[in-house]
Structure formats: structure tokens, C-alpha cells
Amino acid sequence: MSATAAQTSTRHPRGQVRLPAPGGDVVLHRRGAIVGAALTAVAVLLALVSLGTGDYPLSVPEVVRAMFATDGGFATTVVLDWRLPRVLVALVFGAALGVSGAVFQSMTRNPLGSPEIIGFTTGAYTGALVALIVIGGAYASTTVGALLGGLLTALAVYLLAYRKGISGFRLIIVGIGVTAMLQALNTWLILRADLEVAMSAAFWQAGSIALVGWEQAVPAFAVLAALAVLVAVLAAPMRQLELGDDAARAHGVRLEPVRLALLVVGVALIAVVTAIAGPIAFVSLAAPQIAQRLAGSAGLPLVNTALTGAVLLIAADFVAQHALPSAVPVGLVTVVIGGLYLIGLLVREARQKL
């Protein structure tokens, strides 16, 4: 018995926590679990601070009291009705964007993989523009236009990249090409549009969660929860894809159905976010990589990626709302940070290759 124990400890010197469960143990990596707990704490803290910041400032204890007060005073209205939707949306959308990025990066085996690269975001913008020009500026029609545009673009890229199956690399190359063409189309549409339409489009394209209320947040959360279940089911075959196509198939992964399912789920996650908030760059790209480095995990950790995404987006939204001389859309903040991050990543990759 002691021999077995010694073996187990040499097998897992990096530390594992095992939780007995029906059907076998749940294996957690200790560092991953600690990082997860820390990220959760940071997210909760940022949420509380966000809930207390604004024209009607509240301290953290006041926020907590307002949330659980039954008398329905003014502080409760401010926290629960005005600020909580935005804070929850930042957390949940950040998590969704992060997981979407992890799905794409695992599938393409490329740290530059993200829903943006297969043209979803640019296509969504095209759809929103067309809706604005043809139908006019209603929120619902822009949302539907963006959804249709993004989904059609993703489908087109998938079909163009399909040749007896999908390779991650081909997906990226085709995605870049289609994105470039759609960007040209978007510019042309903007130049021809009325000033008012161009302004609305520019606002949509910046990506903002400032105007999101409960009526948009609740259905979005429901869809995202359903998608989270699908991601959990797909997680194990996704891990296998990281080993290469041959090894994955030799282990009994049905490559094309799994890849298609991952693509659909990854696109659906970002579609929900984009439909409600417009394009929010960088989170899907960076959250998986940051989480992987923090947790020191094998492959891209899904739970920690979700938590990292949540922290990134609520922090970016806090900056967008309060830390700048005047409030800006959160998409602007994430684009600036994202640009820097991307340059850093490319420089590092280039150095490794030389």
C-alpha cells in the first residue's frame, strides 16, 4: 500500500486534489483550483466596487446592505435596478467571450484563433450596417441584422474552408481573407450612408454594455447557460483535439462532428454577446492564454478562462465608465489593451521561431 501511495505522489508532484464522486474521482489541479478561487475573489471584489461607483457613490458594505435590504430604499434601486444588470452582463459576457476564444484556440491549435478570425465580428458589423441602412435604427433590427450577418459569415468561412474536413489553419486563412473583403464592404457602406446612420453604426461598432437592462440580460443569460452545458459535454473531446488529428481519431474522437459542434458553440457564444453588446474585442483572444499561464495547466483551462474573461471585461468596463475623463464604450478599452497584447504575442512567437 505504501508503495502505491509513494507512486501516486511521484506521479503528481505538481499537486492534485481528488474529490470522490459517483463514477470516479474528480481530479483538480491544485494550482488551477487556487488560481480559480483567486480569480473568483477578484471578480466579486471588482463587481462590488463597480456597484458602488458612480454619481451616487456607495461603499462596499453599503452595496452589500443595499442588495439584501428588504425596504427597497433608493440605494437598493440604484444597485439592483440600475447598476447590477451592467455588472452581471460584464461578468457573464466576459466569461462567454473567454470560453468562446478557448474553444476556437483549442480547435485551431493556434493562440491567434478567436471567433474574430473566422470573420464573425466583421460579418456582424456588415449585418448591423445593412439593417441600419435598409430598415433604420431600431435596436431589435440592428440586433437581428448583426446576428444574421455574423452567422452567415461564419457559415461561409466554414464552407469555403471545408475540404474533406476542416483544418484549423485553413479556417484561419480563409477567415482572414473573408474578413478583409467584408471590411472593405463595411467602409463602402459607411461612406455611402447618411450621417445619422453612420453615427449609429459607429456607436454599435464600438461595443458597449452601458445600455443593457434586465430585459436583454435575462434571455441572453438563459441562452449562455444552455451553451455552457454543451461546452462541458464537448470539453473532453476538445482536449483530445489538442493532441493532433491523428491521435484524437485514434482515441475514438469523431473529428468532424466534434469540430462542427465546437464551431457552432463557439460562434453561438460570441453571437449572443455581439447581438446585445456589439463587438467586444480582445477578451476572447487573451483570456484563454492568460488563464493558461496563470494556472500552469495543460491546454486551455475552461473554467479559469471563463473567470479570467469575467475579470477582464468587468475591469475594462470599470475603466471605460469611471477611470477616463469621460465615459467611453467598453469595446474601445478592450481594443486598445488588445492591440498591445496582440503585438506582444506576435513578438514572442516570432522570437521563438528564430
Binding site: 507512486q7 503528481h12 470516479g24 473532453a236 482536449r239 483530445q240 491523428d246 475514438g252 474522437v253 495543460a298
Partner: protein, 278 residues
């Protein structure tokens, strides 16, 4: 030679030909429109260490891909236990046939133990977690490939020889009675090649059926119990190396004039090339 002694249990009444769980029947193999082999038939004798040899582009790796159901034949069938392998559920087949591919990718930051554990996938259900059987299989796989001491190391940090043993451990953790090895020794130095081949020979003695594609004819002749020589997508000869490896066969298959002598260490055929020039 030791081949008869090991595998078959005492209860089995041997037929004249050894039973074959896995084989290809009249398969046509092609990538897109490029046909590699036509009406090719190969049987993998149970309990054998089968090695497929042949010149570059003779279709040996393609045959192995078909046997491992990575490549679907355009005609004919790969047959496992009397049924077309295409009719097996993917995980079901993966519990019988394991494959060490020519190239695999280790995810960033993965440890040896975690990588080996990924070989357990075909045994895990949608919701099932890590079981005692999983744990035991991984421990055994790491012991028999001598990577137990490396368990906590990062795969990225290992040498080429260590890494190949770790990949072998991952396939062993899959616990399949049949193992396919696609050029497992290609990027290793001579000492690590022999180390790995000895490991496979041990597995074979332990009862596994192995099918390997090897480049080195002398390694093939030394380790194989059943040799398949291919050229231009067709099998030229098959059988125990000591029966079929002759100077004529080598010249026919590889176009290389040579002398075949007895290996001074093992007594198996040893191919000594003459100059390739006339």
C-alpha cells in the same frame, strides 16, 4: 525463436493458419484522386509483431492508416473481428486498436502523467470521471515504458527519446490488444531506436499484437515475427523474416544489390548493401 511459446493460451486449438483479428481485404487506398494501392489484402496474425517494410512511397504508412481507420478505403474493407471496421463505433474500435501516429502535438504546459492519462479517453463515458481502472492503466503504462520518474515533468522539456517513450505510454494506457506504430523510431538516435524496439518486443512478449512501419530493414528483420514487404502499393512477400529475407527479395523490393548474412547477435537475416552503382 521464442514466438510460439508466448501468446496463445493453452486452451486454444491452433488452426493451421494463425487467426487474424485485423486485416485488409481487397482495399483500394487513395488520397483524393491519387491512388496508392489497389486490391490490397493483408492479414495481421494474432499475437505477431508484424513489421511492414518497403521503399518510400510504397504505401506502407497508408496501409497502416487504413488499418487504424484513419483512412477510409475507397473500395474493399478493413476487417476487425469479422466485421468491417467502419461499422464500429469510434470509441469501441479505439478500445481494440491503438495507434502511435508519426506526429502528435503535446499541448503547452502538459505534464507526462497528464499526457499519458489522455490515452484513457476511449474508456471514459460522457460523464464518467477518473476511475481506479484509469489510474491503474496509467501507472502500468508509465512503468512499462520507464517514464514513471518523469511523471511530473513537462513534456516540452524532455529529450526526443524520452518524449517518444511518453507517447508510447499514452498509447499503452489505452489498453488495446492491437497496437499500430507508424515509424516510431524515425527521429531517434541508434541507442534510443533499440531501446524503443526492445520495449515493443517486451510488449509483444506480454501478449500484444503489434504492427509497425519501419524504415530500417535490419531492425525489421531482427524484431518482426511476421514481415510484410511492399512495393508500389502491393505486397511482394510476407512471412517470418528468416524465411523471406533474401538478397533477391531486397533487390526486388528496394532495387538495391546486397548480401544477406546471419546477424551475429540474433541469427536473424542481416542485409549488407553492395554499392548502389553497377
Amino acid at each position: 525463436m521464442r514466438e510460439e511459446s508466448s501468446v496463445t493460451g493453452p486452451s486454444v486449438e491452433q488452426q493451421t493458419a494463425p487467426r487474424a483479428r485485423l486485416g485488409a481485404r481487397d482495399v483500394t487506398l487513395a488520397y483524393d484522386t491519387r491512388v496508392i494501392a489497389q486490391e490490397l489484402s493483408v492479414e495481421i496474425p494474432d499475437g505477431s509483431f508484424t513489421v511492414i517494410v518497403g521503399p518510400n512511397a510504397c504505401g506502407k504508412s497508408t496501409l497502416l492508416r487504413a488499418l487504424s481507420r484513419l483512412l477510409k478505403p475507397t473500395a474493399g474493407d478493413v476487417v476487425l473481428d469479422g466485421r468491417s471496421i467502419a461499422s464500429f463505433r469510434a470509441k469501441e474500435a479505439a478500445r481494440v486498436i491503438g495507434l502511435l501516429p508519426q506526429s502528435s502535438t503535446a499541448p503547452d504546459g502538459i505534464t507526462v502523467a497528464d499526457l499519458v492519462a489522455r490515452g484513457r479517453y476511449p474508456h471514459q463515458k460522457l460523464v464518467s470521471r477518473w476511475s481506479a481502472a484509469d489510474e491503474a492503466a496509467v501507472t502500468r503504462a508509465m512503468e512499462s515504458t520507464h517514464v514513471t520518474d518523469l511523471a511530473g515533468r513537462l513534456v516540452d522539456e524532455l529529450s526526443g527519446g524520452q518524449r517518444q517513450r511518453v507517447w508510447a505510454a499514452m498509447v499503452l494506457a489505452q489498453e488495446t490488444p492491437i497496437l499500430l506504430l507508424d515509424e516510431p523510431t524515425t527521429f531517434l538516435d541508434i541507442a534510443h531506436q533499440i531501446e524503443l524496439l526492445d520495449l515493443f518486443a517486451d510488449l509483444h512478449r506480454g501478449g500484444a499484437t503489434l504492427v509497425a512501419v519501419l524504415h530500417d530493414l535490419n531492425h525489421a528483420a531482427r524484431y518482426a515475427t511476421h514481415l510484410v514487404a511492399m512495393r508500389d502499393g502491393a505486397v511482394v512477400a510476407s512471412g517470418p523474416p528468416s524465411d523471406i529475407v533474401t538478397a533477391d527479395l531486397v533487390e526486388e523490393v528496394f532495387g538495391l544489390p546486397c548480401v544477406v548474412i546471419d546477424d551475429p547477435v540474433t541469427g536473424t537475416p542481416l542485409v549488407v548493401p553492395r554499392s548502389g552503382r553497377p
